[in-house]
Amino acid sequence: MNGKTRETVKTTYRDAIREAIREAMRRDERVFLMGEDVGRYGGCFAVSKGLLEEFGPERIRDTPLSESTFVGAGIGAALGGMRPIVEIMTVNFSLLAADQILNTAATYLHMSGGLFNVPLVIRMATGGGKQLAAQHSHSLEGWYAHIPGIKVLTPATLEDARGMLWTALADPDPVLIFENSTLYNREGELSVDAGAVDIDHARICRQGNDITIITYGASLYKVLDAADILEKSGISAEVIDLRTLRPLDDAAYLSSVAKTHRALIVDEGWRSGSISAEVSARIMEGVFYELDCPVERICTAEVPMPYASHLEQAALPQTETIVTTVKRMVRKNG
């Protein structure tokens, strides 16, 4: 992204996030991390492993299992001049703190008539695919994107895992970062001087002419795989990583759809009332007369996530479905 240097280092999504936290803690003493098992355990997904030793218990704070209160405390600390990073172990537990996120974090600035902004960052793991069944596999980032007053980030790449946190901390308002848990082990090359990235824009990950596939988070890789397969069939797909679900970068995907005249949205959330529904609606509103076929969506099946692997995989968006859907839409080999 930055293109500062060609020198890269092999790393993982997990390490990139840890590096981002470490850098933030070093750069700004107001920054601290709090959440369940972030200290002595090293983080449920080992993201914060080693940070307690480096920064001490004052700044790497293990909390009781009190989601509502430690999120609320994050809000209070932000109001009080700190720059807290609150880690909610997974999005599933964030529901216990939904009141604080929606009724407090998202509303304070507005109901105080602009007096009190809440510079809080909340990180949480999201997504299914690990056979964790119905209570531990939600993808509710699109649901949170419904709420005005917060920002919703979904880093999919190593660059974003590394770079979004600092920008989020610099933001004067509450920012939620959703880390798809299937990405933590993802390996790749990252520039050694990778740093803060923009969080206002979607990114075209692959150029194409026949269709625009809009996605975010872990689905990005399924979409890129599909695009490779489609290329062999002579279909050129443009792939857009939304990166930020609120506020949406409308210009990015609308201009792409205006070019390709077809749009498919791949969203790991449930279909009804999803971010894919929102993007689809905005495409209708924005570039209706550019469409050469109906906008389509591939979302997670509307069931609580089943445990059995074959059922879970059937519920989630998959590369093959993306390929066949695109072929049908483009009507080549369809």
Binding site: H261, F288, Y289, E290, L291, D292, C293, R328, R331
Partner: protein, 410 residues
């Protein structure tokens, strides 16, 4: 409150361009008034209204191409001024009503134009075209009538590629006549449209109608003698054409044998009381129009001649009335002028018969054991075997023959 819709002027008309409004909001109109002029594949047609009232609102502006059934204007009856007002204020309601009306179009057409049967293809044509938004926009930009395009997308949706293909095809078509008629691309366009319309109707006829053909020869000597004597008395302007006699004879024969006058619709033979004869008129630039002469049986010879002259003039000027385009209950084709001996016609659906007349030529003719030179006409009947049988057809031809041989009976 009534909606004035783009009428269906033929089985194959799917859309037309509104060329001119003859009225403006606030104008009082009565049944039968010509209130708009539209341009369909077949040419420019004046559209009459079947309501009485006041033009409340013009919905489709001049220059716009719209599918059959589209509400062109709202007409409020004199009795319901309050409702009119409400409709004006609540825009959304009007739109909603319009949509409902579109769905109910077939009935709508029946109500509006009583004599027009609900033609099966008319129903098909009234379906909302599935056109992708991009294709629709592109078609508008390229001035392509989407109703003429076959969609290649799922469920026959017309997409961008289809429009682009149609545009290309049009370009190719344009290039051919450009050398001859460089300044008439628009007319070429009409002709192409008309050709398509004829093609559609005739294909359907050939596909659906089991034709049977009967032919007879009629001694026209006495009839023509009468005609010539009659014309002697008349000024050039008032002179009669042989075709008048033919039409009159057809009408009379249809009175005697009504089975051939009417339609085949929904697997049912519908005989008609009114005899409106579609009279095939070829156009100088090519193509064919078959406007109807209404109630031929009730017209005197003179009236018929006047109607025919008027019709031919207006047809060639491209100014036909909508009812004339749709009302024919039977068709007459006369190709004698072109030297044709015998006509084997193709029935214009949903009609059940077509009468063809060839050339009247002098022939050796035996009658009552005497050989003589007579002026003989070849008359044929192409009839729909689903509606009638050869026996009935023979009766018709026989009857017609009698009338032409005994002009006094006409």
């Amino acid at each position: 409150m009534a909606e004035f819709c783009m009428p269906s002027l033929g089985a194959d008309m799917k859309a037309a361009t509104l060329i001119e409004w003859k009225v403006k909001p606030g104008d009082f109109i009565k049944r039968g008034d010509i209130i708009a002029v539209v341009e369909a594949d077949k040419g420019i047609i004046e559209i009459e209204v079947f309501e009485e009232g006041v033009v409340d609102k013009i919905i489709v502006p001049e220059g716009k191409n719209v599918p059959v059934g589209t509400v062109l204007a709202i007409i409020s009856s004199m009795k319901e001024p309050s409702e009119t007002k409400e409709e004006k204020i609540v825009e959304g309601q009007v739109i909603e009503k319009k949509e409902t009306a579109l769905k109910l179009e077939p009935e709508k057409v029946l109500v509006q134009e009583k004599p027009v049967p609900p033609l099966p293809e008319v129903l098909e044509g009234k379906k909302h075209f599935k056109v992708s938004p991009l294709a629709r926009k592109l078609a508008e930009e390229l001035n392509i009538d989407v109703s003429t395009i076959q969609g290649s997308g799922a469920d026959g949706i017309i997409n961008r590629a289809d429009v682009e293909k149609a545009a290309k095809e049009r370009e190719l078509k344009k290039k051919i006549p450009v050398t001859e008629k460089a300044k008439m691309p628009k007319e070429v366009e009409y002709q192409a449209g008309m050709r398509r319309a004829i093609a559609a109707a005739m294909s359907r006829s050939n596909r659906d109608i089991p034709h049977y053909y009967l032919e007879t020869r009629i001694d026209m000597t006495r009839a023509l003698q009468w005609l010539e004597a009659e014309n002697q008395k008349r000024s050039i302007k008032e002179r009669l054409l042989p075709a008048v006699l033919l039409l009159k004879a057809v009408a009379r024969a249809l009175k005697d044998v009504p089975g051939l006058n009417g339609y085949w619709i929904d697997e049912r033979h519908q005989m008609k009381d009114e005899i409106h004869i579609g009279f095939a008129i070829s156009l100088r630039q090519g193509g064919l129009v078959v406007p109807a002469i209404h109630n031929v049986d009730k017209k005197s010879i003179d009236e018929l001649m006047a109607a025919m002259s008027d019709l031919i003039a207006r047809t060639r000027a491209g100014r036909l009335r909508s009812s004339e385009m749709t009302d024919a209950t039977v068709t007459v084709t006369s190709l004698g002028d072109l030297g044709v001996e015998t006509v084997y016609g193709v029935i214009y659906p949903p009609q059940v018969a077509l009468v063809g007349f060839g050339r009247i030529s002098e022939m050796p003719w035996a009658e009552n054991g005497m050989l003589g030179i007579r002026r003989i006409l070849s008359a044929t009947l192409a009839a729909d075997h689903r509606a009638t049988d050869g026996n009935r057809g023979a009766q018709f031809l026989g009857s017609m023959k009698r009338y032409l041989q005994e002009v006094s009976m006409l």
